[in-house]
């Protein structure tokens, strides 16, 4: 079926910063969509709603006949004025889009266009202790605005969607908001093949140092593992300083001084790719994830993953991940089993690699394009 050409304004404001998961989603999604749908017009918005960047040079850049980047030449002040005028209904957005897709927790008024809003998760309503108060207010504001303004919602996992429906029972139907659940995929080219020999690498922990990532359990399990293991692999940690992490950082630097832990801080994605490729296994007992991208990315490098069964983690890990309770003994045992049982390790590596390959950004992009089409029908 010939698809109707759509003009799409796509929010890439968050890609202009040190990218967290949300920035990456916007970046990879739009790159795939541009490829998959050459008949649509894409306008990349490097400034979005109240999210005004001082600098946009690091932001997503796509070359193509069907792509333009109208906010690039504007100063932050000019961009802010444009959005103010759009919100006031005085002008339409650059490119007069049919659809505007928000990815950075903002749900501004977008004139006659239909707004699509990406919901990463609603954990701030369920586990507010895992977020900062300013962040909680921003996220809350965004989702509540979206309930008024958005015609379509993208959820990045079924669990996020279920949680949303739990908090707003029946609301999506009542407001005839169209929805799609789009699972994320790895940013990295998958390894050529699953592992055939046991690697020498370290254990790996990924994620910024904040309470939600549960580094305490990682370190407890790691210390317990060290007591039992004959090989005694180290632990590499990649992740920014986060927040509420003073005690944790002290503990990490203590372990680091004893040569047991290597803390790399926030790493660029090329380095992250290397870390996954070299790691013996990822330990990821997070308390809550909107999707759990590190799981899929480690698996794409055929790296086995030990994780938990909460929130979206089972969706990301599929049948390939090793699931534990939030229990350092159980996690340490899983670590030791991977280390001691060669065939178990290799089977897990293969299953992980295959699972990661089943998820792709083009599949994700396809689902988003389908939602756009559905919104244009009526």
């Amino acid at each position: 079926m010939q698809r109707k050409a759509i003009k799409i304004g796509f929010d890439v404001a968050q890609t202009c910063h040190e990218r967290a998961g949300c920035g990456w989603l916007a970046d990879l999604l739009v790159k795939q969509m541009v490829k998959l749908a050459p008949y649509h017009q894409f306008f990349l918005y490097h400034q979005f709603g109240n999210w005004i960047n001082q600098e946009t040079t690091k932001g997503t850049h796509v070359v193509g006949e069907n792509v333009s980047e109208p906010f690039r030449p504007l100063s932050p002040g000019e961009a802010w004025k444009v959005w103010q005028s759009v919100e006031a209904g005085l002008v339409t957005l650059p490119g007069a889009p049919d659809i505007v897709h928000a990815n950075c927790f903002q749900a501004p008024k977008v004139g006659p266009a239909k707004l699509v809003y990406t919901v990463y998760d609603v954990s701030f309503w369920v586990y507010p202790q895992f977020t900062t108060e300013d962040n909680r207010l921003v996220c809350q504001r965004g989702v509540l605005d979206a309930i008024g303004h958005a015609a379509g919602f993208i959820f990045i996992s079924q669990s996020s969607r279920d949680e949303f429906e739990h908090i707003f029972p029946g609301l999506l139907q009542e407001n005839s908001i169209k929805c799609s659940t789009v699972l994320l995929a790895s940013r990295f080219e998958p390894a050529a093949q699953p592992r055939t020999v046991i690697p020498n690498g370290n254990w790996l922990g990924v994620g910024s140092l904040e309470p939600r990532k549960n580094y305490d359990t990682i370190l407890n399990a790691f210390e317990r593992y060290l007591e039992e293991s004959t090989i005694k692999r180290g632990l590499t940690i990649a992740g920014g300083r986060g927040w509420k992490s003073e005690d944790l950082r002290a503990r990490i630097s203590d372990l680091q001084s004893r040569g047991l832990v290597k803390y790399e801080g926030y790493v660029e994605d090329s380095r992250l790719n290397e870390l996954y490729a070299d790691a013996f296994g990822l330990v990821f007992p997070s308390h809550y994830e909107g999707f759990g991208l590190p799981i899929v990315e480690a698996m794409s490098q055929a790296c086995p993953v030990i994780t938990r069964k909460n929130s979206s983690l089972p969706e990301a890990g599929g049948s390939a991940a090793i699931y534990c309770e939030n229990d350092e003994i159980e996690i340490a045992e899983a670590m030791l089993r991977l280390e001691r049982d060669e065939s178990y390790y290799l089977t897990t590596s293969r299953a992980s690699w295959e699972h990661a390959r089943s998820l792709s950004w083009s599949a994700a992009a396809d689902k988003v394009l389908e939602l756009y089409d559905a919104l244009m029908v009526n």
């Binding site: 701030f124 309503w125 369920v126 507010p128 108060e133 300013d134 909680r136 207010l137 809350q140 509540l144 309930i147 008024g148 739990h166 908090i167 707003f168 029972p169 029946g170 609301l171 009542e174 407001n175």
Partner: protein, 421 residues
């Protein structure tokens, strides 16, 4: 109420009411201040003399406080209201357009009381007592705009410079003040605000279905968003759900919350009554089934004692001063969690034994509050400040202020120089 012992020790207190806003703009603190002033006048009679320093938009609202020995002097123009015209029927109402703080001494004022916190009218010769209601700008800075945060920071600095004593409205606020600012412990005291008795606790219209009531201005920390989300969950779960009644000063935030109620399709069962006078407010409170109080930040929490007085069960959040006031007499929730709040509302509505138990505990709790003993604390501070106002104190106050001026003059000169370059 028995007459206190020290009632003969007369004290002339100037009360700076120039920051009072018409209607509900000040929130719950305004009725609290007025009730305190009235009660202190009634309790100490000739033991206290007031000179109320008022503004042109609210001087009429405090007329009822002016007894024979008191005066009300309008010293500030606000909200585009003209100066009042003195007349024979109001002999104790004066107007002083060119007020300056040296007049306090000439009028015989011995202590300046600033219940709204900051003041522009203090004088080094006169001891100053200021009230602080909360430390929102430090505890919860994201909930106010940056310019207001900076403004609050500035007036806290001024209070620390000007005030000899600081009155807080809960142990919690007192502790926060001492934690955040370099002020001596013996300069800070707290009085609770059990001002529930000002409302006549008549019977509500019993024919009506009960409803949840949340009296609060639409400030971000009052957390109306979570309440509406929770209320929607509650409505979809409960068999015969109660309505939700919101009172509070209408402003742009209340419009946003109304709009949210519409988007959540609960607008038909959510009533926005705006700011109510005391009589209507008492009626509305009396008809309620329960108080729901999800506020994330309070200095005291007046509606909690009001609910106890009206024999209403309470659901509230476990934050800041709220547990200090409600103690055992409430169901506590994490106010940031809509599912938890909704569950508490359902539980309370469906369980009459629980409601009865909470009401009973509320009655018990209310007995531990007494406005007379709170007023005695305040009066004692007035008299102490008066007696302790030695030459040394005046000089110290003068230095504190002079240093402040020195800094500001220096800053002005430096700025001017900088701008010349």
């Amino acid at each position: 109420m028995s007459r206190p012992k020290n009632a003969n020790c007369s004290c002339h207190v100037g009360v700076d009411l120039t920051l009072m806003i018409p209607r509900g703009g000040n929130g719950g603190i305004k009725p609290a201040i007025l009730t305190f002033l009235r009660s202190i006048g009634e309790r100490f009679q000739e033991g206290i003399k007031f000179t109320l320093l008022t503004n042109s938009s609210t001087y009429q609202e405090v007329e009822f406080l002016v007894r024979d020995q008191d005066k009300s002097i309008c010293i500030a123009l606000t909200h585009d209201c003209p100066w009042p015209v003195p007349n024979r029927t109001q002999p104790r109402l004066l107007v002083c357009p060119d007020f300056n703080s040296s007049m306090l001494g000439k009028w015989g004022i011995e202590v300046l009381y600033c219940p709204f916190g900051p003041t522009h009218h203090s004088h080094p010769d006169i001891p100053t007592v200021s009230m602080i209601t909360d430390l929102l700008h430090r505890d919860y800075p994201f909930s106010i705009p940056e310019n207001e945060r900076v403004w609050r920071e500035g007036y806290f600095r001024d209070i620390l410079t000007d005030a000899d004593y600081v009155q807080c409205i809960s142990q919690y606020t007192r502790d926060r003040l001492l934690e955040y600012y370099p002020i001596k412990e013996n300069q800070v005291f707290f009085t609770h605000l059990p001002i529930d008795q000002r409302l006549q606790a008549g019977r509500g219209t019993t024919s009506q279905r009960p409803y949840f009531i949340y009296p609060a201005n639409f400030w971000i920390h009052k957390n109306h968003e979570i309440l509406l989300i929770a209320y929607r969950i509650y409505r979809q779960t409960a068999k015969e759900p109660w309505d939700l009644v919101l009172t509070g000063n209408p402003d742009s935030r209340s419009d946003e919350i109304k709009d949210l109620a519409k988007r959540l399709a609960i607008d038909a069962s959510t009533q926005f009554l705006g700011h109510l006078d005391e009589t209507s407010f008492a009626q509305v409170f009396a008809g309620a089934g329960a108080l729901v109080y999800p506020s994330l930040h309070e200095g005291f929490g007046i509606p909690l004692v009001e609910a106890m007085r009206f024999r209403k069960p309470i659901i509230c959040s476990r934050s800041t001063s709220i547990p200090e006031v409600a103690a055992e007499a409430a169901i506590y929730v994490d106010g940031r969690k809509p599912l938890e709040l909704a569950a508490a509302m359902i539980n309370l509505m469906e369980n009459s034994a629980l409601r009865d138990d909470l009401v009973m505990k509320g009655e018990e709790r209310l007995k531990s509050f007494s406005i007379a003993s709170e007023i005695d604390k305040l009066y004692k501070v007035f008299t102490t400040a008066k007696v302790a106002n030695s030459r040394r104190m005046r000089y110290a106050r003068f230095l504190r202020r002079y240093r402040g001026w020195g800094h500001s003059i220096l800053a002005r000169v430096t700025n001017r120089r900088l701008s010349l370059h």
